[in-house]
């Protein structure tokens, strides 16, 4: 009997060892690019946990690898912890949105000029966190509220002000954090007044367009570069009282990393320069609508710009 136990243990140990070997083997394989140069510096790349951020995180990682860096990917982090991970040094950079930096991280008042917002966040980030904002993208992935076109027409809702008036007839599909985040519903309430929705339910962010499509809700939170918005079925409400600042994309990177390896700036900026709204929506759509893997889509796009 004792023999049998040790047999079981042995089996577990062996299988564990095998797993370890394979896992480490695989990750190191994918990390080392085909043209590793003399500098074997490892950069830890992060991203948030939604499609666009994943694609961008992967895209920047590919650019660094192409330039001969080793990249350790820590993609798919929760939006709420990614900033702290960066400060802690768990990651070295991640793609962030200027508006999010302004409202959520710095908790400043909203501003509406892209340049102004960028200047403010980059100055304050450097001073407060020793973090550097690289060049921002042309793409602007603002927050928004999206409705099914039919419902919007039915209640004649075009702007968020209209929505506020008809809120009691509207079913809202939230994803939890929007109700709590300072640049989410609380910000809207401050500017537009309270929203007494007929119904409010939480759904995973990934299924919100399905929920709208299946008429389980009328209204959802949107990001303006989402692939689904390319469809005619949905309409984004106009933020007529300007709650939301512009949300341009830029990698935020730790100061010491940039100082040690200044050329990283150019490598990443070159990628950001290619990102306009059309491109980002197209990339998102490849993943969310055509159901391809984000790393594949990123690689494909990178091959066209390198």
């Amino acid at each position: 009997m004792i023999k049998k136990i040790s047999g079981l243990r042995m089996f577990l140990l062996l299988s564990m060892a095998a797993v370890l070997l394979v896992v480490t083997g695989c990750t190191s394989n994918s990390a080392s690019s085909d043209q590793a140069k003399e500098n074997k510096v490892t950069i830890k790349a992060g991203s948030k946990d939604f499609t666009e951020s994943l694609i961008l995180g992967e895209l920047y990682s590919l650019a660094l690898e192409h330039a001969g860096y080793k990249v350790e990917r820590k993609l798919n982090l929760g939006s709420a912890i990614v900033h702290n991970s960066l400060i802690n040094g768990d990651i070295d950079f991640y793609p962030e949105y200027t508006g999010t930096g302004l409202l959520t991280v710095l908790k400043e008042a909203p501003k509406f000029d892209s340049k102004e917002v960028y200047q403010e966040v980059s100055a304050k980030y450097k001073e407060k966190f020793k973090l550097i904002w690289l060049e921002p993208s042309a793409a602007n992935d603002s927050q928004g509220l999206v409705m099914r076109k039919r419902a919007a027409e039915q209640y004649q809702i075009r702007t968020i002000s209209d929505l506020q008036k008809h809120a009691s007839q509207i079913r809202f599909a939230s994803q939890g954090q929007f109700d709590e985040r300072s640049d989410g519903l609380p910000a809207l309430v401050k500017v537009y007044g309270s929203f007494d929705f007929k119904d409010r339910r939480l759904y995973d962010n990934g299924i919100k367009y399905d929920v709208l499509h299946n008429d389980k809700a009328d209204l959802a939170v949107a990001y303006t570069t989402e692939g689904e918005l390319s469809k005619d079925e949905f309409v984004v409400l106009e933020d007529d009282k300007h709650v939301w600042p512009p949300y341009n994309i830029a990698p935020v990177i730790r100061q010491e990393v940039v100082e040690k390896h200044p050329e990283i700036k150019d490598i990443l900026n070159k990628v950001t320069a290619k990102l306009d709204n059309k491109t980002v929506i197209r990339l998102n759509a490849e993943v969310d609508i055509k159901k391809r893997e984000y790393n594949e889509v990123a690689k494909e796009f990178f091959n066209t710009i390198k």
């Binding site: 929760g78 939006s79 709420a80 912890i81 702290n84 599909a173 994803q175 939890g176 954090q177 109700d179 709590e180 985040r181 339910r201 939480l202 759904y203 995973d204 299924i207 399905d210 929920v211 299946n214 389980k216």
Partner: protein, 212 residues
């Protein structure tokens, strides 16, 4: 931290109340439906030796499927909200009740049944007056196991819009806000413990005859 949690709770007491109600509602519904399916099925299995093996095996395999997977996979078919969550949770709750009903009936001393039949009871009377009361303690144990699992797993239903206390956990994770998480997590644990305690009390009452 606890104070902050309580402050948040008081601020959102309406939402909390609704979430608790929805959580209880969905758990109770799942338990009720699975009880109504599993008990008759278990009885039937205990009397039909040949099928019992395959039925019980099938449900044991179903039980192996992670609850998250059941939930996510039910969604494209059954849509979002209450129905798929109920479906997933019911599937999760059936096996313990089924298996315990089965063994509860199987464990009854055949002499007792022989006596009852000898006294002139018909099959229906034996079932109601003898078999069900004797199997009840084990059936309730199964119900207890199911209840714990259902109450804990009902939090996952938040992902597909079924509401409940999972909303707090879900939001708490998204926000990385421990206050909100604490409210959700602790409430579910409390709910589960309360259920356990009350079902144990019921079980105690039902098994009175076993003590002196």
């Amino acid at each position: 931290m606890i104070n902050e949690s309580i402050a948040y709770l008081l601020l959102n007491i309406d939402k909390y109340y609704e979430a608790v109600m929805v959580h209880i509602e969905i758990s109770l519904a799942a338990l009720a439906v699975s009880f109504m399916i599993a008990v008759p099925l278990g009885i039937w299995c205990s009397k039909n030796g040949s099928v019992s093996y395959s039925v019980i095996n099938a449900f044991t395999i179903l039980r192996i499927i992670p609850s998250l997977a059941v939930l996510v996979i039910a969604m494209p078919i059954l849509g979002t909200g209450f129905v798929p969550a109920l479906f997933a949770l019911t599937l999760l709750a059936i096996p313990p009740i089924l298996i315990n009903t089965y063994s509860g009936f199987r464990n009854i001393d055949p002499f007792v049944l022989e006596c009852a039949a000898g006294m002139g009871m018909n099959a229906g009377k034996i079932l109601l007056a003898i078999e069900i009361p004797l199997a009840m303690p084990l059936i309730l144990t199964g119900l207890r196991t199911s209840a714990t699992e259902v109450i804990a797993s009902a939090t996952l239903a938040s992902y597909i819009g079924a509401g409940g206390l999972g909303d707090f956990i879900f939001t708490g994770i998204g926000m990385n806000d421990v206050r909100i998480l604490l409210i959700g997590g602790m409430s579910v644990a409390l709910l589960s413990v309360l259920t356990e305690v009350s079902l144990t009390a019921v079980q105690h009452m039902v098994t009175k005859y076993q003590r002196d």
